[in-house]
């Protein structure tokens, strides 16, 4: 009896993910001062966007360690977005300059590892650019829907 139940579950989990009706999971790292505000004003301005993004607020985009990004992928994210203030607008003077250089490493390593470039994107969004934020999330969701689930997604995670 027990066997048949567990068999049923594993068969379901092993089956190819359904692409119709499948919503990607997107992890978006937003800096407290700009892009998190951008996400906020996207909501206030009532710009439509898919419910695929999970926002993680950090104080500065310079805080985002490449390790966080890889951990997100390994935990099942289909895409990871790194967002921050425009260059020159950083609340902490040059935090996003550091992000820029760090991101170069990260981008190269992720690409060499075989993660598609659509799955990892960098964007500078200010607190007033609510529409830009909503459009960005919409675009990425569309791109990821075409690509399908991430190859790094653990078994059993939707």
């Amino acid at each position: 009896m027990n066997d048949s139940i567990s068999d049923g579950i594993s068969a379901e989990a092993a089956a190819a993910p359904k692409t119709d009706g499948w919503e990607p999971k997107i992890v978006a790292f937003c800096c407290n001062w700009c892009s998190y505000g951008g996400a906020d004003s996207a909501g206030m301005g009532r710009f439509q966007q898919p419910a695929s993004a999970r926002i993680i607020r950090v104080m500065c985009s310079g805080r985002i360690d490449p390790l966080h990004v890889f951990n997100a992928f390994l935990e099942g994210a289909d895409a990871v977005l790194v967002t921050g203030c425009h260059i020159g607008d950083c609340h902490y003077v040059n935090g996003n300059d550091k992000t820029k250089i760090k991101y170069k490493y990260l981008e190269n390593v992720a690409h060499e590892l075989g993660i598609e470039k659509e799955r990892l994107q960098l964007n500078w969004i200010s607190a007033s650019e609510g529409e830009k934020f909503a459009n960005f999330i919409r675009d990425v969701t569309e791109q990821i829907k075409k690509l399908g689930p991430s190859p790094l997604k653990p078994a059993g995670v939707v």
Binding site: L74, E75, N94, K98, I101, K102, Y105, E112, P151, K153
Partner: protein, 384 residues
């Protein structure tokens, strides 16, 4: 004596000259530095047999003099050995040792002002286990019978105890999968100009072939080291002839060209299935951490990002440990090959790390271990 000058020199001690690879200059120079209290200690390889040796830090002049002679099948790296010891030390170093030492100094683990680095020209080293197998399969001699080894004109020569010489070209050996370690094949640092002084037998001409060492002084510290050895009566030097200088440059060019060729051969670009390739290669990892322990550019210590964020129970598709190391080594991998050598499950780690390091270092125009420049991350400035 000053930076940029070149000399040909040899040891004045008969015994050292005889045993030393080419005139015993390096051994004598190290011994003189120790004798005249320029340094407190010297790193030498203590020979176990023809294929094995352990690096030791010693303050005994006789032990230094006894270490004369070269070993091609001991792929050690001295950078980690002298790190965090705060020693006044002189040591011989291959290209990758020097790069490791410079990387450690950037991480404040080695004080370069107290470290005299005697660079050795290096065409590559061999793995002891592979060498033993090669002797039996290719040379058809017993590893125990080997008395000495030499690399000359692209041939690897083993001398047996009965006095016979067995020679096979390195190209032929490498075609069969023996010969130099893989990382040495695509290494392009053949003359370590990043060390204080660069020594080697390339460029020695005429009667002196095999009996003298060609020296190039790369820094003020290197000049002091050689001057001290001359003053102490340990070595003799003379100016090299122009032909020798030209030959040395030519050998360097050829070797580097070969290295680049190997690089293209090993790192074939992959379009699809990269993720699967890395996953497959890392599948057998047993989390022993040996690759991190030997890595000459790593100085995080026991508690580090790669280990603390890795937990086997997560059962991720790819281990967090390796992902963090891929990232860290993307800007600091020097391609020494230590990680592949020690891996108990034979993962070709250097090849994996280099895949990332090649692209990143090329794009950011940063070569670790060549000079004091910090990784580009440290150069972040406010762009107005």
């Amino acid at each position: 004596m000053q930076k940029g000058e070149m000399y040909v020199g040899w040891s004045t001690k008969e015994d050292v000259r005889k045993r030393g690879g080419s005139g015993g200059l390096v051994t004598s120079m190290l011994a003189a530095a120790l004798e005249k209290k320029m340094v407190d200690a010297v790193v030498v390889l203590k020979k176990i047999n023809e294929f094995e040796a352990v690096p030791v830090i010693t303050s005994d002049v006789n032990e230094v003099l006894n270490s004369a002679g070269s070993l091609h099948s001991v792929p050690s790296n001295f950078a980690k050995l002298i790190a965090n010891k705060n020693l006044k030390v002189a040591l011989p170093a291959k290209g990758c040792d020097v790069r490791g030492i410079i990387e450690q100094s950037k991480r404040n683990a080695i004080n370069l002002d107290n470290t005299f680095v005697v660079g050795l020209n290096c065409g590559g080293s061999m793995h002891p286990v592979v060498t033993r197998e090669m002797l039996e399969v290719m040379y058809k001699i017993k590893p125990e019978d080997v008395h000495g080894e030499e690399i000359e004109k692209g041939k690897l020569i083993f001398e047996t105890k009965d006095g016979k010489e067995h020679a096979i070209t390195i190209d032929e050996l490498e075609e069969k999968g023996y010969g130099r370690r893989e990382s040495c094949r695509y290494c392009t640092i053949k003359i370590p100009n990043n060390a204080d002084i660069a020594c080697g037998n390339w460029g020695v001409t005429g009667d002196l072939v095999g009996k003298a060492t060609f020296v190039e002084i790369n820094s003020e510290k290197g000049a002091r080291l050689l001057q001290n050895a001359i003053d102490a009566g340990y070595v003799q030097v003379q100016k090299p002839d122009e032909k020798g200088v030209a030959i040395r440059a030519k050998i360097k060019g050829t070797m580097e060209g070969l290295g680049k060729k190997w690089k293209d051969k090993v790192f074939v670009p992959m379009d699809n299935g990269r993720l699967e390739y890395f996953r497959k290669e890392l599948e057998h990892c047993i989390d022993c951490g040996a690759c991190k322990a030997v890595c000459p550019t790593c100085s995080c210590g026991d508690i580090s990002k790669c280990t603390e964020f890795h937990y086997r129970g997560d059962a991720y598709k790819m281990s967090m440990y390796h992902l963090v190391r891929f990232l860290h080594l993307a800007d600091s991998c020097i391609g020494c090959g230590q990680c592949s050598d020690v891996c108990p499950v034979d993962i070709p780690l250097t090849r994996l790390y280099r895949r990332f390091a090649n692209t990143v270092q090329e794009q950011l125009k940063y070569e670790p271990g060549m000079d004091q420049r910090k990784p580009p991350y440290f150069e972040a400035k406010l762009e107005v």
